[in-house]
Symmetry: C2
Subunit: 421 residues, 2 copies
């Protein structure tokens, strides 16, 4: 909102005090009414996502993911519902990213209020201090993208009543009737108890979820994919030290708080939502676990199978169901592979064209030559600065980290170097 | 700003039309005046950063980095000036992170205006459409943290006049006289030409800078540290294909645009600012280069030495100076090591206590036991869920990626496995 508008209003009020004028009151009324919904004035709801490249299209850069060959059908994102539990340093940024990506529906859970002490992380503003985090989030997010359906749950999921509402909302049909249940739960909470509650709810519902966390010293974090029955649940491999019989909150001594940084939390939120987009829109490889050690810029990955002796009965039940459904799963995977193989033989990749994607004649543009790997001739206006990639030698210094190279000769070379040193 | 306040104002205007009332006008005037500076009302300037843990302290979670042993003196961040070139999807988020971290001074450069097509990335709001990006950024950032000195340069650094202003501003004393020049330049531009201009300016000034970039398909990016004379400059290892003699902007065909995602850009901004914080506040390892491949969650690192045949004369000159200063550098490093060694023998780690940091008696808290590595006894209320870490076995599945393991036995094992397969 423009401060200048408010200053003009002040001048008008001063004038009004000097001389009563009903017409002036009408004009002021009109202007204040216009200020009530400034975002809606700048950006009305959009029915279908367009890939048209104009400055006024908020989805042009997202729909371009289709033309770039990254995503098959970007607009499917409107069919998805995501629940975010914990609207703090990670959850609020995750919510903003999904809102700007045009997700169909967002369910937001938190019981806390905005404080000035939260201002060292992204998203919340000083003028929102005192509002509930869910209300403040809805205020900001609805202004950014009115196309997203936002549901705000200001409640504590670790209470009996809160848990019931939480569980019910994860299963419920959306208010417009388009969605039933949620497609993914993102846990962005900051304590063990709340994680165990999300774990319990998702195990009961067989609901896929992603967990995230940031260390108390603010310099590392992680994300993790949890598919009940298929991967380890949060109780399958518990932390080495946990609170027992004591309220976890009282363990935090008065006057002592954890550190936090907008950088670490922004990176973790970005990795989390990227993994969620890959999972929902089916591109790239969904990471089962990804760590972030910012002091060394080290990103460990791993996979964890479920623990048959897991202390969570719902997890054990989901594991049994997953084992029992193995033959059906294998058959479905085989049928899908065969169908794809025969489809590739017989017909073009896309039969329908619901979104009016047109095939572009690339012969007069530079894009395909840059994207394609084997192009020897460059379009007009471009020259090679160095020999072609095929004859390009190794960089000056060796790559210092990366995936383990399982190439036989490379391993032999490393072995020889170690033996001779 | 609260919409409810505006709605109340509407009701008052309606009442005023029914019945003129000077006292009512006075009350309305007072409330509108309060709305003009909502951020300032919620958050006034703070003279010294406090580590006090109260909800009203916006710096408590940052000052906690000192107590956690990550940063020696966090408040030094107020002495630093950072220039951000390009206030787009990466630059705007980097600016917000640094503002929330309480950086002393931010210089922002961009010549573009905010469009709805930018709304798929973080930071800008639909109601800012039409404003210059630098003005919109200053509007938002000054509301978030009034302690940061913001300088807005709405200009094109690739023009002759723009370059002169850019170069001058990087050297200039700040308006309050506290800072001379900048401590770091962050390049967040989206084209080759602008990067070469930043490279030229930093080579001329001997100014350390960090470069960032996101791919046209929106799913990968990188950050890079450039120290003139010491590391490769941007011209030392140019891209394989560059525009030659043609205006780069005309290469982009009408109606075609690059894809972008708030996730990738948020991660790159986070990695960039984290590297900047590590560099300025001297913690962790500053990464010379860090890539981000989001499809595979792969993060390559490497180092690049300068090219003695670099096409940039200022780079070659900085390389000569760096070589010539080697004896002095070695002597200084040796002296510093010796001073630190003798200081460690003789006196406590911190002699002065400018920020009134008090040593906390941890004997009655749980924090030290969690943080310390060798603690066998746990504080009251905590139990071990699993055997102690020393007897804890490897996770179920092996780590699937990570740094190259140069352990001899591990390489031998991999080699045997490959030979036998």
């Amino acid at each position: 909102m423009d401060e200048e508008q408010l200053r003009a209003l002040l001048r008008d009020l001063d004038a009004l005090k000097q001389r009563p004028d009903p017409a002036a009151i009408d004009r002021m009324r009109e202007r204040v009414a216009g200020m009530v919904t400034p975002a809606a004035a700048a950006r009305s709801k959009i029915k279908d996502m367009s890939s048209e490249v104009v400055d006024s299209n908020p989805y042009s850069r997202l729909m371009a993911l289709q033309r770039m060959g990254i995503v098959d059908n970007y607009e499917r994102i409107r069919d998805y519902s995501i629940a975010i539990v914990g609207i703090g340093g990670v959850g609020s940024v995750a919510a903003e990213m999904l809102t700007r990506c045009g997700i169909g529906r967002l369910l937001l859970y938190d019981y806390d209020t905005v404080e000035l002490a939260n201002m060292n992380r992204l998203f919340f503003r000083p003028d929102q201090v005192g509002m509930t985090k869910t209300d403040a989030a809805v205020q900001t997010l609805s202004g950014i993208n009115p196309d997203v359906t936002l549901e705000s749950y200001s409640l504590n999921i670790t209470t009996v009543k809160g848990f019931e509402t939480f569980l019910g909302s994860l299963k419920a049909r959306s208010s417009d009737g388009r969605n039933t249940g949620v497609d993914l739960v993102l846990s962005c909470v900051d304590n063990y108890e709340a994680r165990m509650v999300v774990n319990q709810a998702c195990n009961e519902l067989g609901q896929t979820w992603m967990e995230s966390g940031v260390s108390e010293d603010a310099v590392s974090g992680h994300i993790q994919l949890l598919v009940p029955g298929e991967t380890a649940c949060f109780a399958c491999a518990p932390p080495l030290v946990v609170a027992s019989g004591v309220d976890e909150r009282t363990l935090k001594r008065e006057g002592v708080c954890a550190a936090s940084l907008p950088t670490t939390m922004g990176v973790v939120a970005g990795l989390l939502v990227q993994n969620a987009l890959k999972y929902l829109l089916k591109f790239g490889q969904v990471s089962p676990y990804l760590g972030y050690n910012s002091l060394k810029d080290y990103f460990p990955t791993m996979e964890m199978k479920p623990n048959p002796q897991c202390s969570n009965p719902a997890c054990v039940q989901r594991q049994k169901e997953y084992m029992q459904s193995k033959p059906a799963r294998d058959a479905a995977a085989k049928a899908k592979m065969e169908a794809e193989a025969s489809a590739a033989d017989e017909c073009p990749v896309h039969l329908d064209n619901d979104w009016n994607i047109s095939v572009v004649d690339d012969s007069d543009t530079v894009t395909p030559s840059i994207l394609s790997t084997g192009a020897d001739s460059l379009p007009e206006g471009l020259v090679r600065e160095l020999p072609t990639a095929d004859s390009y030698q190794e960089p000056v210094a060796p790559v210092t980290s990366g995936a383990i190279d399982d190439d036989l000769e490379e391993l032999q070379r490393q072995l020889d170097a170690l033996n001779s040193s």
